[in-house]
């Protein structure tokens, strides 16, 4: 009885991984072939798939935290843009070094997120609206900082060149197979998974999302948890922005538009409830990969972009419907 129950429960726990597997297998079946080779499974292509979702993936990890406490963060795409601009401006225009630039950009994201957390937790404004405003503010700041233009990044030791160490972030490693952005995503995801498993903070986070009043009565520092979570989300969004800048060799204030919705989709497809208190980072990673594989296979088959919109919409609904099969709570 308990035996059976735990197997079933385990299966359902990983069902977002199953969704991913299903899409993966479908991708192999529907993949175009060239000279007998299945294009989808080529090492290069798989690396591309993961690289393409690495930014959304990093953001989605932070978004998972926010959604777990029952909030939402619409500002992440704009914060990504702000961070991309920041990295470019600091390293290229202000000739800052690699470390100080990256650190400042990360701190900016952290503080921006924390301020949103303060507005949510201490003033009590709904996070949807706080971060909707945050989106506009971050976008405005990015435009002002960059002068409205994308700031191109050239590498070298000269003036107005970014240090080569920064360029490394965009390279590939492990025999040219694994792009560094993928590595960063993996590290962030694994760290988050472990963090959620072992830390006391994670209990507090689930508690705040699951029953805020109970959390408060139990002595959980609800306000601090909320601020910390929004700060983490801002931090990860700006990390994604740094990765973005290095991958595109520029920081543009208009980058990351709409990324928040992709990230939220990844989180929800991954089985995290928008009501808070329930979900996992592992699911989110699976959700992000699922979206990446879907995008890739549609593109490899050159599906018309309008039809792609339809198919993606339907797959998202289907993936979410699959989530509903879990034993009701």
């Amino acid at each position: 009885m308990t035996e059976k129950r735990s197997i079933v429960a385990t299966l359902f726990r990983f069902q977002s991984v199953f969704g991913l597997l299903a899409v993966f297998i479908a991708a192999i079946i529907f993949s175009p072939r060239k000279n007998g080779a299945i294009l989808f499974v080529s090492a290069d292509n798989l690396a591309n798939v993961v690289r393409a979702v690495s930014e959304i993936g990093i953001i989605a990890v932070g978004m998972t935290f926010v959604i777990l406490i029952g909030g939402i963060d619409l500002s992440v795409g704009a914060v990504l843009g702000l961070a991309a601009v920041g990295s470019a401006v600091l390293m290229v225009e202000s000739d800052w070094g690699f470390l100080p630039s990256v650190l400042l950009v990360l701190v900016i994201g952290l503080i921006f997120g924390a301020l949103q957390g303060v507005a949510t937790a201490m003033i009590g404004i709904q996070s949807f609206i706080v971060t909707l405003a945050g989106l506009q503010i971050a976008r405005g700041l990015a435009r002002i900082w960059s002068g409205g233009q994308g700031v191109a990044i050239a590498y070298g030791d000269g003036p107005h060149e970014a240090p080569n160490s920064f360029a490394l972030l965009g390279e590939r490693t492990f025999g040219g197979l694994v792009p560094i952005p993928v590595l960063i995503f993996a590290v962030v995801a694994i760290a988050a998974v472990i963090f959620l498993r072992v830390s006391a903070f994670s209990r507090h986070l689930y508690a705040v999302g699951g029953n805020e009043k109970a959390a408060r009565l139990s002595g959980v520092p609800v306000v601090r948890v909320k601020i910390a979570v929004f700060a983490i989300c801002g931090l990860l969004a700006s990390l994604a922005g740094i990765v973005h800048a290095v991958q595109l060799n520029q920081g543009s204030p208009n980058d990351g538009i709409g990324y928040e919705l992709d990230a939220i989709a990844a989180v929800v497809i991954g089985g995290t409830s928008l009501a808070g208190g329930r979900g996992s980072v592992a699911g989110t990673v699976a959700g992000a990969l699922l979206l990446g594989v879907l995008n890739n296979i549609l593109a490899l088959n050159n599906i018309d972009s309008n039809i792609q919109l339809l198919i993606k919409g339907l797959v998202i609904v289907a993936a979410a419907a699959l989530q509903r099969l879990r034993p009701a709570s």
Binding site: N48, H244, N249, D255, N296
Partner: protein, 314 residues
């Protein structure tokens, strides 16, 4: 006439390698920055129409929906598919330079449309010249509409976009000659009709005397016209736009129907791109590294004729 120049004598190596002559079958990948812009949708449509005439060509389309990263992925996917030629209309130059170079280095000939990428790792560029267009528009205003001076309001494109800056610069430079012509106000309409309308509502309020509205594209010019019309002031001023898309909702029709005084073509380069591709792949020839297509003034006199020319089927 076509202004052209040969930069760097290197004939495209890519072309010679991929050329299989008239018996070959060719898959061409077209990476579009954002089909949500009418101009770019028309570019795709022009490419599609022109490619129909070349039986060897099979053109695939991808839309980056205004996202640099997505466009990089689109090109990556084309490389995976081992296409024979890449046409790209980049969302922005720098972010796409690396991936375009990657394709080019793999021996795929690359045609860059509308916006250049950095460096010279591509086979050919075909585009318009926004500074020149702005300056033509300025000249038209200075000579035809306001020889005795007057007040202009400018509806700009999305803040930060290169064409916005160029269309502004060219215009300003060419009206400078007449000090009695003044740009009394400007606003950003983000290329959108409804935004142009809303901004114009406010501009009309704040400025009792407006003689010319110069909009960086036709949709904003149309929006401005609608705003003026709704307060009954559309007859007091002239509206000019840019792009002159030969589509029913485009600027040429608006000129023909009298809402706009003039518009200036911003060529989509679709036809020219397919011609270049044919030259490279089917004819095993070479193409100019850079081909800049000139703009044309569309006014009441030639609008109907040009519209018909551009839409031969009907």
């Amino acid at each position: 006439g076509t202004t052209s120049d040969r930069t760097g004598g290197s004939p495209s190596d890519g072309a010679s390698k991929s050329c299989k002559g008239a018996d070959g079958k060719y898959t061409i990948g077209m990476s579009q920055a954002n089909v949500a812009e009418p101009y770019r949708q028309r570019m795709d449509d022009d490419i599609r129409a022109a490619a129909k005439e070349v039986p060897q060509f099979d053109v695939k389309f991808a839309d980056a929906a205004q996202d640099n990263a997505k466009q990089v992925a689109d090109v990556d996917n084309y490389i995976t598919q081992q296409i024979d030629l890449l046409i790209i209309s980049p969302n922005e130059a720098t972010p796409l330079t690396a991936v375009v170079k990657k394709a080019f280095d793999k021996g795929i000939p690359v045609l860059v449309l509308d916006r250049k990428v950095d460096g010279d790792a591509y086979t050919g560029f075909i585009g318009g010249d926004n500074v020149q267009i702005g300056s033509e528009a300025g000249k038209y205003v200075a000579e035809k509409l306001l020889p005795n001076g007057g007040n202009i309001v400018e509806l700009k494109g999305l803040a930060g976009a290169t064409p916005q800056a160029e269309r502004h610069q060219g215009f300003v430079d060419s009206i400078k000659a007449n000090p009695k012509i003044k740009i009394i106000a400007d606003a950003s309409g983000d290329w959108l009709r409804e935004k142009g309308q809303a901004q114009m509502d406010a501009l009309l309020k704040a400025n009792p005397k407006i003689d010319v509205v110069y909009a960086h594209n036709d949709p904003m010019a149309e929006g401005a016209y609608l705003a003026a019309k709704s307060v009954g002031r559309e007859k007091e001023m002239k509206f000019i736009g840019i792009d002159a898309l030969p589509i029913p909702s485009g600027g040429i029709k608006a000129v023909e129907q009298g809402r706009l005084s003039a518009t200036f073509t911003y060529p989509t380069n679709g036809k020219e791109a397919i011609a270049a591709a044919k030259k490279l792949l089917v004819d095993c020839g070479t193409i100019e590294k850079s081909q800049v297509l000139p703009t044309r003034l569309i006014d009441k006199d030639n609008a109907a004729k040009i519209y018909a020319e551009e839409n031969p089927a009907g």
